[in-house]
Amino acid sequence: MKILVAIKRVVDFNVRVQVKPDGSGVATDGVKMSINPFDEIAIEEALRIKEAGKADEIVVVTIGVNDAQQQLRTALAMGADRAILVESESEIQSLKAAHSLLHIVEKEQPGLVIMGKQAIDDDNNQTPQMLATLWKRPQATFVSKLEINEDKALATREIDAGLETIEIKLPALVSTDLRLNEPRFVKLPDIMKAKRKPLDVINIDETVAGFDDKELSIENYESPQPRQKGVMVDSVDELVAALKEKGLV
């Protein structure tokens, strides 16, 4: 079985992004870029499935600027076999991403697609579900445990009510939640090895022929409303008094 892992290059989760003063976007010049954390979990899961003998090839794909090759190389260093960059100089929205990935899926014919449940930049949580829908295959979103049994998979999903288990027929799409696994660290020799692994670059236009994009327009960026400065108390008595004064206890 082939596994396709779709990843996104995002501002590193440790960076506290700031809105530009003119409201035209957030300041991303010079900030550290990384693989979206959920997508790192997706790569790790694919590697573990392959190491368990249930997959024979892992292809990692991203849509993004040319520099996103760095994140693909990291994925290759983790252990993916080859990479595809769908190059797009402009930012695209979820539906276009899903259509572009559909093109790759149709070409690669994977038995399983794994991707992070959401990108931590736009926090949309849409592309996996959209891709599954366009592909007309089952989805298991927010997965914290995955068991592959030949042509089926048992997926445990983290949902509001607890842990839900569903069975999906392969080929299928899985989106990862935090507790699926802990991604491995990349070792230096693997980084060197990754430089020789194949990385194809194609233009996004080749993947979305005939697609009628209905973009949403983003009109303004603003900083969130700050909370009012609070007070520090010195004892439990003062805390209880403050809570009583507010009528909360």
């Binding site: 501002v11 989760f13 506290r16 992004v17 809105v19 957030v26 959920f38 979820s94 539906l95 899903a98 959401q118 931590i120 930049d121 926090d123 949309n124 949580n125 849409q126 592309t127 996996p128 579900q129 959209m130 599954a132 829908t133 366009l134 979103t141 927010f142 999903r157 983290e158 949902i159 509001d160 009510a161 607890g162 842990l163 839900e164 288990t165 569903i166 999906i168 507790r179 009628d212 209905k214 949403l216 327009s217 983003i218 009109e219 960026y221 603003e222 969130p224 909370r227 009012q228 609070g230 520090m232 108390v233 010195d234 004892s235 439990v236 805390l239 209880v240 403050a242 909360l248 206890v249």
Partner: protein, 311 residues
């Protein structure tokens, strides 16, 4: 005029408050006419409950089979089909809504507006990005708007005095590639974390699963729900459904008391709509104090027992 279809969420016996919050958001669109769609294998009882949500005209009650009402692939095509007569399709931004709604959007060839936190007008909305570090205004000039409603941003409305019409539907081609197997539900004796007015929440500082009992005891003492930071869930101190934050639950209780939580930005985004935030941590420099209304620095293992006594 805006015609809005809202996907109702339920657990088989009652309508999730997220549904009502989505209705509240829809009512902020001027002149909106609001209908619900609800799915279940035995739909009549739950449809009757849905019809009690004030402000709803019609409930589309769709009969499913093999528990397909729990599955995105089981219901998204029907929602897309029903949406033909609507300008907007909304769902709550719960794990259920997040799972289903993008499928609906894809079937309709639309991008989705996720996590609406404010309605500006019928086509313009505000939503958070970057874990709430920025807020964007998004607008659509397309024929249909598909969106999820950030439940912490809207109030629960009247869920008992409505009298909507019920229209019955069924699904012809039941999908079989995805099958519901089981649900391991969390503790149902305490109030629901997403709707509770009071929440007691613990972080890495709690130190162990055994120590988390302290949080449960304090919560029971004041009738609160319990929550946790990602660090506490990752460490196995408590179950996943207790996680509050960017990728967990976004909540807006009147009182949020945090113990041993340092306050990573990803956690803070889940609580910043809370009425009063209380922070208790041994580290006076913890970022949680930047958002706390009341802060107390100290050893939570001394403070919690004292609180139990004095509350």
């Amino acid at each position: 005029m805006s015609k809005i279809l809202i996907l109702a969420q339920h657990d088989g016996s009652s309508i999730n408050q997220g549904t009502s919050k989505a209705v509240t958001a829809a009512q902020q669109i001027q002149g909106a006419s609001i209908d619900l769609v609800v799915f279940a294998d035995d739909v009549s009882t739950i449809a009757t409950k849905a019809s009690k949500l004030a402000g709803v005209n019609t409930v589309h009650a769709v009969t499913t089979s093999n528990e397909n009402w729990k599955l995105a692939q089981g219901i998204a095509p029907k929602i897309a089909e029903l949406s033909a007569n609507y300008s907007h399709v909304f769902g709550p931004s719960t794990t259920f809504g997040k799972d289903v709604m993008p499928c609906v959007a894809a079937l309709l060839g639309q991008n989705q507006i996720s996590d609406i936190m404010q309605v500006i007008d019928a086509t313009t909305f505000k939503r958070p990005i970057y874990a709430g570090n920025a807020v964007i205004s998004v607008s659509s000039n397309h024929d249909k708007i598909v969106a999820t409603i950030r439940t912490a941003s809207f109030k629960t409305g009247d869920m008992t005095s409505g009298s909507a019409n019920i229209e019955n539907h069924s699904i012809e081609n039941t999908q079989t590639d995805t099958k519901f197997i089981s649900l391991q539900a969390g503790n149902s004796e305490r109030p629901d974390l997403q709707t509770a007015p009071k929440v007691i929440s613990g972080g890495r500082g709690i130190g162990s699963e055994e120590n988390f009992e302290l949080m449960y005891k304090l919560a029971d003492k004041i009738g609160a729900a319990t929550g946790a930071s990602r660090a506490a869930v990752d460490a196995g101190y408590c179950p996943n459904e207790m996680q509050v934050g960017q990728t967990g639950k976004i909540i807006a209780p009147d009182l949020y008391m945090s113990f041993g939580i340092s306050g990573a930005i990803q956690h803070l985004t889940g609580i910043k709509d809370a009425g009063t935030i209380v922070a208790i941590n041994k580290d006076a420099d913890a970022p949680i104090y930047e958002v706390a209304d009341i802060g107390l620095v100290g050893d939570l293992f001394k403070i919690v027992p004292e609180l139990m006594e004095k509350l």
